[in-house]
Each structure stands twice: as structure tokens, then as C-alpha cells.
């Protein structure tokens, strides 16, 4: 699949921002720092959501995306994100101005974060035509990234380091299942054309000599060429370097280093998530890469 920068930025930034908001919602902050920290959380989450509008053909009608929550995960995500941002607002206000409103809104918002990130992941995981995405490890990876992203930003090592390790394991499992996902889906040029019963099917002539939307959007092969290297980058930057930074570099510098390296790793993982995924329509063009 084509790794559109707007979608990568959207899923990474909003995931991290929502994760951080959840952390703030549960544990809170006080005074001027609260204003600043809630501001960062909101900034990231909203920037991500705004980025997602950039890949739309007609963004002026984006509000219609709230209408189909009964069937569409994209619509559910729109609702979940807006409701969650709304739930956090009174908590942020209370933290900043020192009102004693308890942590009810923050806790509810944290649940909203889990739902929002789950909805985001289901936009991809629901798609059967992309076997690598159609798997429970996709929501697991998205949720793990949001949780660790928030904890790393919070710089709370006793929770962040174990969370990073869990993320590493979840990511490894996701890649393990992903490697054979296309083969497991069982679709071949034979089933795609229905001609497999007669004999071995191969392309004699392509239907068009130029490119088209399908080839640009769904038959993207660069990712698979460099997959192993990008996997290594994702694992080292998302997990290992932040663990080292949090464990051995003291103070804010350590947290800043951890956040930056984690962000780079998350972008690499998300780029690969799109670039590496194969759509079954590729079978009509015969360009199946195992």
C-alpha cells in the first residue's frame, strides 16, 4: 500500500498525543506545567487529526464522516476522537486552575483514548483484502504504541521501560504473523481470475501501458525491498534507544532523547506498516512478491 505521509503522520502523532493525554488524565498535573503539558497533548492529537484531512480528495465535506458510525470504523474513530478530546477538557481546566474536580473526566478520557486508538487500528484491521492488516496484532501494535508513547513523554521510567519492552514483543509478534499473512489468505492469480483450475496462470499482457490509481495506491513495492532494514530501525529506535535514554540519561535530556528516538522509530514502523502491506488486487497484475 502507498505510504501516504499524511496518514503516517496522522496515526503516529495522534496515537502519541492521545497516549499522553490518557497519562495526564489518569495522573494529572498542576499549575502552569499543567497548561503546558495538556497543551502538548492536545497539540499532538489535533495536529494528527488535521493531518489526516490532507489525503482527502474533498476535505470540505469531512464533517459527513461523522454520519456512518453504525457501520464504518473511520466514522467511529471521528466520533471517538472528538468525544475523547471533549472529555479531557474539564480535567485539563481543573488541573491548570487548581479546581478540585477529582479525576473522573481524566479517567473517562483515558478510556476514550483506548477506544479512539482501537477505532483507528480497526480502519486497517477490518480490510480483508490486505491480509497483513487483517489480524488482531494490528490493534495490539497501535494500542501499544499509544500507551508507550504517552508513558515515554511522561518520562515515568518505572512504567515506561516495561511498556517499551511489551511494545517490542507485540511488534515482533505482529511482524511474525505478517510475514505469512498473504499466503495464509490463500488467494492466488488462480483464484483471482478463477482460471486456476485449468492450469498455471501468468500475465500475457497488462490491461494498460501507463500507471493507474490502483498501481499507485495499492501496488507499492519499495517497502518490501527494504523491509528488513526498516524493521531493524523501527525496533532499535522505538524500543531500545528510548529504554537506554530513560535508564542512563538523567533528567529532561533523557526524556527528550527517549521521546525523539521513539518518534523516529514509530514513524519507521508506520511507514513499513503501509509500504509492506500487499493488497490482493496485485494478483490481477501478476506482480506478487512473496
Amino acid at each position: 500500500m502507498n505510504p501516504a505521509p499524511s496518514v503516517i503522520v496522522f496515526t503516529v502523532l495522534s496515537g502519541m498525543g492521545f497516549g499522553f493525554l490518557a497519562l495526564l488524565g489518569v495522573f494529572g498535573a498542576t499549575g502552569a506545567a499543567a497548561f503546558f503539558l495538556w497543551g502538548i497533548g492536545y497539540g499532538l492529537a489535533v495536529a494528527g487529526l488535521v493531518a489526516s484531512a490532507f489525503h482527502l480528495g474533498n476535505p470540505q465535506r469531512a464533517l459527513l464522516a461523522f454520519t456512518q458510525w453504525r457501520t464504518s470504523w473511520l466514522s467511529r474513530e471521528a466520533w471517538a476522537s472528538v468525544v475523547t478530546l471533549g472529555l479531557f477538557a474539564p480535567q485539563a481546566l481543573a488541573d491548570w486552575l487548581g479546581f478540585d474536580w477529582g479525576r473522573g473526566f481524566g479517567m473517562a478520557g483515558a478510556v476514550g483514548v483506548a477506544l479512539t486508538v482501537f477505532c483507528t487500528s480497526m480502519i486497517y484491521a477490518q480490510i480483508r483484502a490486505v491480509p497483513r492488516w487483517h489480524h488482531w496484532t494490528v490493534p495490539a501494535v497501535f494500542l501499544a504504541y499509544a500507551a508507550t508513547g504517552g508513558l515515554v513523554m511522561g518520562g515515568f521510567s518505572p512504567l515506561a521501560v516495561p511498556a517499551l519492552c511489551v511494545l517490542g514483543v507485540v511488534m515482533a509478534i505482529h511482524w511474525h504473523y505478517g510475514a505469512r499473512a498473504f499466503a495464509r489468505a490463500g488467494q492466488t492469480m488462480g483464484t483471482a481470475t478463477g482460471l486456476g483450475g485449468i492450469g498455471a496462470v501468468s500475465v500475457f499482457e497488462q490491461p494498460h501501458t501507463g500507471g493507474n490509481y490502483l498501481m499507485r495506491e495499492m501496488i507499492y513495492v519499495v517497502g518490501r525491498k527494504h523491509a528488513e532494514r526498516v524493521r531493524m530501525i523501527a525496533m532499535v529506535f522505538s524500543v531500545m534507544l528510548p529504554v537506554i535514554a530513560l535508564a542512563y540519561v538523567p533528567g529532561l535530556v533523557g526524556v527528550a532523547l527517549a521521546v525523539l528516538t521513539h518518534l523516529v522509530g514509530a514513524l519507521a514502523q508506520r511507514w513499513l506498516f503501509f509500504a509492506e502491506a500487499e493488497h490482493v488486487v496485485v494478483l490481477y497484475y501478476g506482480q506478487r512478491v512473496a
Binding site: L64, T71, A129, Y213
Partner: protein
């Protein structure tokens, strides 16, 4: 709502005969021609006369070589377009309600005024039936020529999809596949028509008819009788003399 109807009154669709299709691409051209001026925005082209021409099409004709184990290879031309699935995943993923399946005839359509161009429906379709128009930013797909088949301004014989009307070999058939007594349903039963990638759970309406079984390959050369020379008269005498020399 982008919820799928539980059942449709009709299941209009195409039956494509892979035995008869000669791969002339007339259906591609007819489709592009009709849908350039009918339902929704026109099908745009980018750089049509430039170095990298590209454009939106609702129908594409592939050509495959099929190699049986113990027979000669066959060339099969393979038109690919929307299958108007009963369980269309492109419809349910749509966040705006632009994609829908009609209760009255089962046609899957896009309301372009509500399409935000997110492309999720094209991702959800296993068959590559949907293409985003690069100029208008909305999703285009086969409408089964909904603006022809019910159009009383057209002569009766033209009230079928443009691809079907134009096919010079009669390889494309249009009708109600939900009615077991319809001509298309009987054709499918008779010729063992099949669905594409049934395991994807989309329940396609369109059917493809397989190439008919080929005769056995001729073992001896067609020229063999001509090579067995039985000359008579002067030519015969010359043949015998020359043979003895």
C-alpha cells in the same frame, strides 16, 4: 446509511464469457465514452498526450496465459470491473454514506456529492473495481450504466450497459442474477459460471464463464498428405528415374 440491505429485489449484474472475449477493449472504450458524459463527474485523464498518460477507467481488460499440465497454453482475455457484491465491503467502510447498495436492483453506487475522497472503499475492494478520479477527488466505479438501463429516452435495445451493448462478440451479458429463471442465470448454470475470489466473503453478483474445453491438438502436420508424393505419367517416370540415379 452505508449498512447493506438484507436482500435486494433484483441482483442486476454482468456475465462475462471468457471463451468468447477476444480482448478488443471495445467495452473499455464504450464505458469510458458513456461515463464521460453521464452519471457523476467525467472520467478524467492526466497527461493524456504526455510521457506518462494515466486516467480513470471503470473497466479494464487483462490478458492471461493459462498453461495446463498436459495441453497447449491458452490465452484468456479477462475484463475486470465492479462485481456489485451482495456483501460489498466497499459500502460498509464508507464514513460518509456516499457508497451504497440499492435495495431495488442491487447496484452499488457512489453519491459523489457526499464522497470525501478518503479512498478507504478502494482499499476494501479485493477486485480493484474502484478508482479515485485524480481531477475531481471522488471515487468512481461501474454504475452498471444506471443512466442507460432505465432510460426511456433510449431505444429499447440500448437499455443495457454500454460495455454489453458494444461488445462485438457477445461476450458480455446483462440481467438479473437473483432470478434463477433469467437468461443470464440459465447461462451461468449451463456453462458453470464462477465467482472471483469467493473466499473473500464478498458474495459477488457478476459471474464469469470459463473458456470451453479445447479439442485435442492435431498430432500430425496438416501438410502430411501433400508430402506423400504419388506422381503419375511423365512426372512419375521422372520421379522413378531420378530416384534410381
Amino acid at each position: 446509511m452505508t449498512a447493506l440491505p438484507r436482500a435486494t429485489e433484483k441482483a442486476l449484474g454482468l456475465v462475462i464469457d471468457l471463451d468468447t472475449c477476444v480482448g478488443c477493449h471495445a467495452c473499455v472504450t464504450a464505458c469510458k465514452g458513456w461515463n464521460d458524459q453521464g452519471y457523476g463527474v467525467p472520467l478524467s485523464d492526466q497527461e493524456p498526450y504526455g510521457a506518462h498518460p494515466s486516467g480513470t477507467f471503470l473497466n479494464r481488460v487483462h490478458s492471461y496465459a493459462v498453461q495446463p499440465v498436459d495441453a497447449a497454453a491458452q490465452i484468456v482475455n479477462f475484463p475486470r470491473s465492479c462485481l456489485h457484491c451482495a456483501d460489498a465491503p466497499c459500502v460498509t467502510v464508507c464514513p460518509t454514506g456516499a457508497s451504497y447498495k440499492r435495495v431495488e436492483d442491487g447496484i452499488v453506487l457512489v453519491n459523489e456529492d457526499a464522497c470525501i475522497g478518503c479512498g478507504l472503499c478502494a482499499w476494501a475492494c479485493p477486485y480493484g473495481a474502484r478508482e479515485m478520479d485524480a481531477a475531481a477527488g471522488v471515487m468512481k466505479k461501474c454504475t452498471l450504466c444506471v443512466d442507460r438501463i432505465y432510460n426511456e429516452n433510449l431505444p429499447e435495445e440500448d437499455r443495457e450497459p454500454a460495455c454489453v451493448r458494444t461488445c462485438p462478440t457477445g461476450a458480455r451479458h446483462f440481467g438479473d442474477l437473483g432470478d434463477p429463471e433469467s437468461a443470464v442465470s440459465r447461462l451461468v448454470a449451463e456453462r458453470e459460471g464462477f465467482a472471483l475470489m469467493p473466499d473473500m466473503g464478498t458474495k459477488p453478483v457478476n459471474r464469469y464463464l470459463p473458456p470451453r474445453k479445447k479439442d485435442r491438438m492435431q498430432e500430425a502436420s496438416l501438410l502430411a498428405p501433400l508430402l506423400d508424393i504419388q506422381a503419375t505419367g511423365f512426372a512419375g517416370w521422372l520421379d522413378r528415374v531420378l530416384g534410381k540415379m
